[in-house]
């Protein structure tokens, strides 16, 4: 019954509701982390072996890539967290764009999603247009974006937001529409104001689904950030470095950018999960099998 025992501990001890039995949790945490790193290490090793065997310029070994990353980005002075000038000039602006784009897109997605999910009227008016825009390939619209937003940051942010808003929007709408009817009836009976219903009831019950959308949007925002840095007029960024590297056939540099994106994506996702665990503690706990 080991599995159930684990479940039990998890169910009854969600963060914020109750702190879990520390020692056991720590032990389990350490085991999980160790396991995860083991899997990663094995995969990296396989990667190294495979790329060595292939010996293709297109597939440099992980060793080469890491060396390149170090030389390119992490050879700076210690007081700057080892970030080199190149890193400061490229990684930071990229992260800034991504963060701003993600924040804007997520906000727009939540607001629109709630509106569409809650009001049949708004849904009717907007659904067609939103579904249309959702299917439109942004690369084909670069010229229109350029004409409307001009070169540079504004266009890039618009581009990122336009691309990542959809998973948040659809999932939020789905969540808002699937609120337990009895919860809404309870709100109605006690005459909660619209704002209270929205904030205290609809939002919390849509949160689990919203988070699925936000998690998708997070990695998508990294991807679209790279795309946005291919747009006319960009002069820095990870995406810019990536394309520049490929256009000059500097494949280790291109791989360095790819790996950096992967690592960033991984880290951002871990951060996201920490937030999610805090915000959705009740959900996790309530949804675990009773025990």
């Amino acid at each position: 019954m080991k599995a159930t025992a684990e479940v039990t501990a998890k169910a009854t001890a969600p963060p914020r509701i109750a702190r879990r039995s520390r020692a056991a949790a720590r032990r389990r945490g350490v085991r999980t982390v160790a396991f995860r790193w083991l899997v990663l290490a094995v995969l990296v090793l396989l990667w190294e072996v495979a790329t060595r065997a292939a010996g293709s310029a297109f597939f440099p070994t992980p060793g080469t890539i890491v060396t390149r990353m170090q030389a390119m980005w992490f050879s700076g002075p210690p007081q700057r967290l080892f970030l080199s000038d190149v890193a400061v000039q490229n990684i930071l602006p990229s992260l800034g764009r991504m963060a701003a784009g993600f924040a804007g897109g997520a906000l727009a997605g939540v607001v629109l999603g709630l509106a569409v999910g809650l009001s049949a009227r708004v849904y009717d008016y907007l659904d067609g247009v939103l579904q249309f825009l959702r299917a439109v390939p942004p690369p084909a619209l670069v010229t229109v974006f350029l004409v409307v937003f001009g070169f540079g940051l504004r266009m890039q942010l618009a581009f990122i937001m336009f691309s990542i808003v959809w998973p948040v929007l659809l999932n939020t709408a789905d969540g808002a529409r699937a609120v337990e009817p009895l919860h809404l009836q309870t709100c109605q009976v006690f005459r909660l104001s619209r704002a209270e219903r929205l904030w205290r009831v609809v939002l919390p019950s849509a949160l689990p689904k919203m988070f699925a959308g936000l998690r998708l949007a997070l990695s998508l925002s990294l991807i679209v950030m790279v795309f946005s840095e291919l747009l006319p007029g960009t002069t820095n960024g990870i995406g810019f470095q990536l394309t520049e590297a490929y256009s000059m056939f500097d494949l280790p540099a291109m791989w360095a950018a790819i790996v950096l994106l992967g690592v960033l994506g991984y880290l951002l996702n871990e951060l996201f999960l920490v937030v999610e665990r805090r915000v959705l503690g009740w959900h996790r706990a309530a949804q675990e099998p009773v025990g």
Binding site: I17, L182, T186, Q188, V189, R200, W282, H283, A285, A286
Partner: protein, 257 residues
């Protein structure tokens, strides 16, 4: 207070699953009255309650609360739903669940908390205030739902089998609690129950509904002496008589009132 006039409700009209839940139901409840409704399972009691609360719009007839036609939920109304566990918000602690509706009462945070605590105390759950609904037993959840309605101090309270999941002792306590609160705060209460004894014990009047489509088949005034008491009242000959009467009506025999 409450006027129900020729009420009808049909679910899924025009579909193969069409179901006539209520038909031509007339009922009126006076201010401050405690009306008990009994009737066979599936007859339409909850449907009636929803119509009064403005949660569904009946397909025929009308409901008036304080002389006003019910289109939306009337003011100062509270409902204890039959499906109590689903009506609690799982993301809020028990205390927050109880305190939430009080925002409409313009109370500040502290006052809300105090009112919530008081209500929880009255249903015997002061120890559970920080717990989340899923950490409570069925009966405790039901009492949280009752506490929420009580804390709100409605003028009209609708209760759908509010004591179904608690033990005999707690049930009696809750019955007395409802009687007490009603006396203190001038509340009109409509209480649905399956327990015939209970209906006679707490009710000023007991209305018996027919099988679906529901309409009123019996309407008994309960004239029991003075403050009710679990032991003496239940031993009172009128009580025994009324109980038998309601029982007969529920079982489909004619009333003998």
């Amino acid at each position: 207070m409450l006027e129900i006039d020729n009420l009808s409700h049909v679910y899924g009209a025009g579909t193969p699953n069409e179901h006539r839940a209520i038909e031509g139901l007339n009922l009126s409840v006076a201010e401050g009255e405690l009306l008990c409704i009994v009737g066979p399972s599936g007859c339409g009691k909850s449907t009636l309650l929803r119509s009064i609360a403005g949660l569904i719009s009946p397909t025929g007839g009308q409901v008036k609360v304080e002389g006003k036609l019910v289109r939306q939920t009337p003011d100062n109304l509270a409902v204890v739903f039959q499906d109590y566990s689903r009506s609690l918000f799982p993301w809020m602690s028990v205390a927050d669940n109880v305190a939430l509706p009080l925002r409409r009462r313009g109370m500040d945070k502290k006052a809300r908390r105090e009112a919530a605590m008081e209500a929880l105390e009255s249903v015997g759950l002061s120890a559970a205030e920080r717990k989340y609904p899923f950490q409570l037993s069925g009966g405790m959840q039901q009492r949280v739902a009752i506490a929420r309605a009580l804390a709100y101090r409605p003028t009209l309270m609708l209760m759908d089998e509010p004591f179904g999941s608690v033990d005999a002792q707690t049930r009696e306590d809750l019955e007395d609690l409802v009687l007490k609160v009603r006396g203190h705060h001038q509340m009109t209460i409509v209480l649905i129950t399956h327990d015939i004894d209970e209906s006679v014990y707490v009710g000023d009047r007991v209305v018996v509904l027919s099988k679906a489509p529901a309409h009123v088949v019996g309407d008994l005034k309960v004239d029991l002496p003075g403050p009710r008491d679990q032991i003496t009242t239940r031993e009172h000959p009128d009580f025994v008589h009324l109980r038998a009467e309601v029982g007969r009506l529920v079982r489909g025999h004619a009333a003998v009132v």
